[in-house]
C-alpha cells in the first residue's frame, strides 16, 4: 500500500520536470523548482515511513526550513540582478 503511494508520486514529479525543461522563461523554471521542493518534503516523509527511519524526517525538516531560500535568491536575481 505504501509502495503504491510512493510510486504514484512519480507522475507528478515527471510533470513538474517537464515544466522545468520546457518552461518558456526563467520564471517558469523557478516555479517548477518551488513546487518540486515542497513535493520532496512529502516524499521524504513517506520514505521515512517506508524505511522506518526517523532520521529522514530531519532531512525533510531542514529542507522545509532552508528550501525556500534558493527560490527567493533566484527571484531576486530575476528581478534586478545580483
Amino acid at each position: 500500500m505504501l509502495a503504491v503511494m510512493i510510486l504514484l508520486l512519480v507522475p507528478p514529479i515527471l510533470m513538474i520536470l517537464w515544466r522545468f525543461f520546457q518552461g518558456p522563461d526563467a520564471a517558469n523554471r523557478i516555479l517548477a523548482l518551488d513546487t518540486l521542493s515542497i513535493l520532496v518534503i512529502a516524499l521524504l516523509a513517506l520514505l521515512s515511513l517506508w524505511f522506518q527511519r526517523s532520521i529522514y524526517l530531519d532531512v525533510a525538516l531542514i529542507f522545509a526550513v532552508v528550501g525556500f531560500a534558493g527560490v527567493i535568491l533566484f527571484s531576486r536575481f530575476l528581478e534586478k540582478g545580483v
Binding site: 515544466r19 520564471a27 516555479l31 518551488d34 515542497i38 512529502a42 516523509a45 524526517l57 527571484s75 528581478e79
Partner: protein, 117 residues
C-alpha cells in the same frame, strides 16, 4: 487509524496530481502558480497528517515540518510572483489590472515632478 492515514495520504496524492496537471495545462506563470505551488502545499500537509496517523510517535516533528511549510511556502511564492511581474513575464489577457494603473500613476507623478524641477 491506519485507514484514516491512507485516506489522508490519498487526498495528498490527489492534490499533487492536480498541481502537476495545472503546471502543464495553465497558460501563464501566475495561473500556473495558483495550481502548482499552492495545491502542493495542501497536498504535503495532508500527506504529513497521514504519516502522523500511521506513526503517532513522530507526530511532534511532523507538526513542526507542517508549520515551517506554512511559514516559508507563501514567502517564496510571493517573492517569485512579484519578480515575475516586475521582470515582465508574459501574461494572458487580464480581466482587470489595478497594478498597471498604479504603476502608470506613479510614472505620471515622477514625470510631473521632473517637469516641475
Amino acid at each position: 487509524m491506519e485507514t484514516l492515514g491512507y485516506i489522508l495520504m490519498s487526498g495528498g496524492l490527489f492534490f499533487f496530481w492536480v498541481s502537476g496537471l495545472g503546471l502543464i495545462r495553465m497558460p501563464d506563470v501566475f495561473t500556473r502558480m495558483h495550481a502548482g505551488a499552492k495545491a502542493t502545499s495542501l497536498g504535503s500537509l495532508l500527506t504529513l497528517l497521514g504519516v502522523a496517523c500511521l506513526a503517532p510517535a513522530w507526530a511532534p516533528k511532523l507538526l513542526i515540518i507542517a508549520i515551517f511549510i506554512l511559514l516559508t511556502n507563501p514567502l517564496s511564492s510571493s517573492v517569485l510572483a512579484r519578480a515575475a511581474y516586475r521582470s515582465g513575464a508574459q501574461m494572458v489577457p487580464l480581466a482587470c489590472d489595478a497594478c498597471a494603473e498604479r504603476q502608470a500613476a506613479l510614472a505620471a507623478e515622477t514625470d510631473s515632478k521632473e517637469v516641475a524641477a
